[in-house]
Structures are given as structure tokens and as C-alpha cells.
């Protein structure tokens, strides 16, 4: 059975861009409150969904990065909070990479690989930095994108 993959590529772009918007909003929420369970759940679900969609279309580099991000979010969910600004910055880097990857899909260009350093950092144990009430948000992006 052959599926109309051009149709699913279009749906992936639409739904994927929505997901990136939700990830962006969730990250900005986490900047304000690193224990926001709603934002943590959203990030986990969006990464999980991107992974499945990308894998269905053979976009292996997107699926790999989303999978690493999902695994990272699973650890954060288990711990109940983002473990400091380094970890938050890492998630913002992941978002930027996913944006570049989806842009390539939209432009019908070769999808870039995630840089090895990003994948390695996502897989590593979180930094020992601990968030505290005194933490000053270290914003690394602009305003959240519209979902």
C-alpha cells in the first residue's frame, strides 16, 4: 500500500510549525517558572509528536533530535523541574535547530543534521547548576512565536 507522502509532508510542515510555536511558548514559560508542569508536559508531548511524524516521513535527523529532546524532557518531568539555565539554554538550542530543519523541509532542501555537540549535550547528565528563587532568567531567544 502506497501512501501519498507529499500530502503528509504538507501536514507535517503545518503541524510541525504549530508544535515549534508551542515549544517556544513553553520554553518562555519555563524561563519564568522552571517547575511549570504544564510547560514540561507540553515540551515532552511536542518532541514526542515531532519524532513520530518525522520518522514516518524518513526525516531521520529531525526524528533523532526530537527523540533526544523527548528523552531529556522525560528526565526533567521525573525531576519536576528544569535544572537551571544551562539546561534551559540547551532546550532553546534544540528549538533553533528544529526550526532550521523544518525550514529546510519547507524549502525542499536537504535537512541538516543536528550538530553532534547538541546531541551529546542532550544525552548527557544535566549540569549541576540548580535553579533557585534568585535565578535571573537568561533569555536566549526573542519573544515566543505564535502557536
Amino acid at each position: 500500500m502506497a501512501l501519498d507522502m507529499a500530502k503528509y509532508r504538507r501536514i507535517f510542515l503545518e503541524e510541525g510549525l504549530d508544535h515549534l510555536g508551542e515549544i517556544s511558548h513553553a520554553l518562555f514559560d519555563l524561563e519564568k517558572e522552571m517547575a511549570s508542569s504544564e510547560a514540561i508536559d507540553t515540551l515532552f508531548r511536542m518532541a514526542h509528536s515531532l519524532k513520530s511524524m518525522a520518522a514516518s516521513l524518513g526525516y531521520d535527523t529531525i526524528a533523532e533530535l526530537a527523540h533526544r529532546m523527548e528523552d531529556r524532557m522525560e528526565g526533567i518531568r521525573a525531576g519536576g523541574r528544569v535544572r537551571g539555565h544551562q539546561e534551559l539554554a540547551l532546550l532553546f538550542r534544540s528549538l533553533e535547530m528544529l526550526e532550521a530543519m523544518l525550514a529546510a523541509v519547507g524549502n525542499e532542501q536537504a535537512v541538516p543534521s543536528a550538530d553532534e555537540d547538541l546531541l551529546r549535550c542532550l544525552a548527557e547528565d544535566p549540569p549541576s547548576e540548580r535553579a533557585s528563587e534568585d535565578d535571573v532568567p537568561n533569555r536566549v531567544g526573542g519573544e515566543p512565536k505564535k502557536a
Binding site: 500530502k7 508536559d41 507540553t42 509528536s49 511524524m53 514516518s56 527523540h67
Partner: protein, 123 residues
């Protein structure tokens, strides 16, 4: 052939399952985007079979399976899982789910799994 309720928060996945199973003669009677809708639509539509995603907003697929099977012990539910979700699939089986299909979907595998589950259910 079966009346099927598709449950997944991703439109991409719902459309893909629909496109795979409709040519086999199955009728998609409804689509739900989260576990709460799934439970409500199950009661309303009483489908022969449900394909149930696991990771969804508002109520997870695992919780939806438990709620549906509490009220409808003979409900026929097939989980849609991704790699790495083996523990959750086992939890769904413990709750009474019949089988599972793995994302990314392989059309032939989806068709054969649903056919097997439907055949067992009609025995």
C-alpha cells in the same frame, strides 16, 4: 469489517491511520484528539475497535484505556506506540488493551494487526 474510533492528538497520525484502514473496508466512525474525548466518543459511538495513542494532552491514552474498559470490559483497543514506550504498552496490556501498532506505521503491519484483533474478537 469494523467501525473504528481513531484517537491521536496529531492530525498527521489520524489521517495516516484512516488512509491505511479505509481501503480495507473499515469505517472510521470518529476521531478523538485526547483521552477525555476518547472516553466520551467511545460511549457515544460504541465502535468495534479503537486505535489509541499513548502520549496526549488532558488525559493520556493509558488512562483512557482504563476508563473505557472499566465501563465497557469487552472494548477492543489497540495501542499506538513509539519506540521506547514498552513499559507503557505493558501497562496498557495489563489494563486490557488487545494489541499494539508501532510508529512510524507500516501499512501492512497495521492492517494485519487490526485484522488479527478483529478476528479474535469475533471468535
Amino acid at each position: 469489517m469494523a467501525r473504528v474510533l481513531i484517537v491521536d492528538d496529531a492530525s498527521f497520525m489520524r489521517q495516516m491511520i484512516r488512509e491505511i484502514i479505509e481501503p480495507e473496508g473499515h469505517e472510521v466512525v470518529g476521531e478523538a484528539t485526547n483521552g477525555i474525548e476518547a472516553v466520551d466518543l467511545y460511549k457515544e459511538l460504541m465502535p468495534d475497535l479503537v486505535t489509541m495513542d499513548i502520549v496526549m494532552p488532558k488525559r493520556s491514552g493509558i488512562d483512557a484505556v482504563k476508563m473505557i474498559l472499566t465501563d465497557h470490559p469487552t472494548a477492543c483497543i489497540v495501542m499506538c506506540s513509539a519506540l521506547g514506550q514498552e513499559t507503557l504498552v505493558m501497562e496498557a496490556f495489563s489494563a486490557g488493551a488487545r494489541d499494539f501498532i508501532v510508529k512510524p506505521f507500516k501499512p501492512d503491519s497495521v492492517v494485519s494487526t487490526l485484522a488479527k484483533v478483529i478476528e479474535k474478537t469475533s471468535d
